[in-house]
Amino acid sequence: MAKRSSGLSWLAVLGGASFVLVALSVAMIFLYAPADATQGDVQRLFYLHLPAAWLAYVSFFIIFVSSIAFLLRGTPFWNRLARSAAELGFIFTTLVLLTGSIWGRPIWGTWWTWDARLTTTLILWFIYLGYFLLRAYITDPERGARYAAVLGIVGFVDIPIIHMSVRWWRTLHPQPIVVRSEGPNMPTEMLVTMLVTLVAFIVLYLFLLIVKYRIETVRDAVLELRAETAN
């Protein structure tokens, strides 16, 4: 609690940076990046879609690591970090599904298709949902933290298997165009816009993660005080 004043200003700088970067990336997406030759303006959704997709999966990785650390150490830090990452991961997964769906309508001619990556991301969304339900329905917070950690580990291990099973089942998603061994296949303006948006999303993500972590800390403190006064 003593660190509050200095921490807050540091956080304000991070928040300001993410605001400026997001504003810059929005400007670049609409003004700097050229329209796609075949897809037209709809392609601009891709700049949001890709960073959101990466962060959706990065969040689950953070949950996985925090869950293991929580089970080994039992410190509230890891539990709060997992909780914070889960909420952000859920938001970014939703964003991926929405932007992908809006893009798919004019390009693929359908809002939804049972392609491997789409299906895996949808299942990821449902796993996040189950994670929140587990946290919400188990009233004892200590027990809820342990169970959520188990689900965080089991769920993360399951995702590659889900992806593999769905891929064998069917696939239609465009092949990777940014991360490829022979280098990205897009004009420089598009690539720069992509990178700026990615950096903006990462800074925004860090900012939101820290804010969310603080909220979780305060919530834990409130629960503790409530338990103390009840005794």
Binding site: I123, Y137, D140, R146, V150, V154, V157, D158, V166
Partner: protein
């Protein structure tokens, strides 16, 4: 350790033999699901190997969910679970015993549902390959199901929570089970080999992971 395992298994099977509520309930659920599927989809046409496999696995998953719910409900009666946890037994032994009794119950449902599937939809189900697919899929489904049923046993709204956890994570079993069974039924059993290894790998991986984490789950 084997003695303890058998003792817990005997306890579960004996109480089921006396009450006869879990397996009967699961069977009714599975058969009704197959019946309803018959009205929902055409299970008599040329595509019936595919639709029959799908109907079969949906019936098995529903019956498993119901059975897991009944099993935990029984453990809550008269402090049965507390008694079990207080016994000087490794947590992992409790998990394996619970898993085995659940696998046994689901296997009974598998076999009865298979006979009904053969009779109603005229499918050549009694092939060794089909039984292998069933065995692997059932163990995988029960491995995660047993872990989650203990995790959700103390929660409010556990009837909502258990399917919400089990369904998304068990999707590889559903896809693999349906595909492998369809290939076996349509006489292309050789192509089912990758699916069988997926089902087998899933079962081994999540049974092992559950054994490792079960001690954390029942830490009182």
């Amino acid at each position: 350790m084997w003695g303890q395992l058998l003792a817990i298994l005997y306890r579960d099977l004996l109480s089921e033999w006396r009450a006869r509520e879990v397996v009967i309930g699961m069977l009714v659920m599975a058969l009704l699901t197959l019946l309803v599927f018959n009205f929902a989809f055409d299970l008599t046409g040329a595509q019936r190997a595919a639709s029959g496999s799908g109907a079969f696995w949906v019936a098995v998953v529903f019956a498993t969910l119901l059975g897991l719910g009944r099993m935990t409900a029984r453990e809550r009666q008269d402090g049965a679970w507390e008694g079990l946890v207080l016994a000087p037994v490794e947590r992992s032994v409790i998990y394996v015993a619970k898993l085995l009794s659940m696998v046994l119950f689901v296997a009974i449902v598998d076999l009865v549902a298979l006979v009904v599937l053969a009779a109603l939809f005229d499918l050549p189900v009694f092939r060794p390959g089909v039984l292998v697919v069933l065995a692997l899929g059932t163990v995988g489904l029960c491995a995660l199901g047993t872990l989650f049923s203990v995790m959700t046993a103390q929660a409010k709204a556990r009837e909502v929570l258990l399917p919400a956890l089990l369904f998304p994570l068990a999707i590889p079993v559903v896809i693999g089970g349906v595909r492998a069974m369809m290939l076996e039924l349509s006489g292309a059993g050789a192509e089912a080999a990758p699916w069988k290894s997926l089902l087998g790998g899933f079962a081994v991986l999540f049974a092992a992971l559950s054994v490792l984490t079960f001690g954390v789950v029942v830490e009182e």
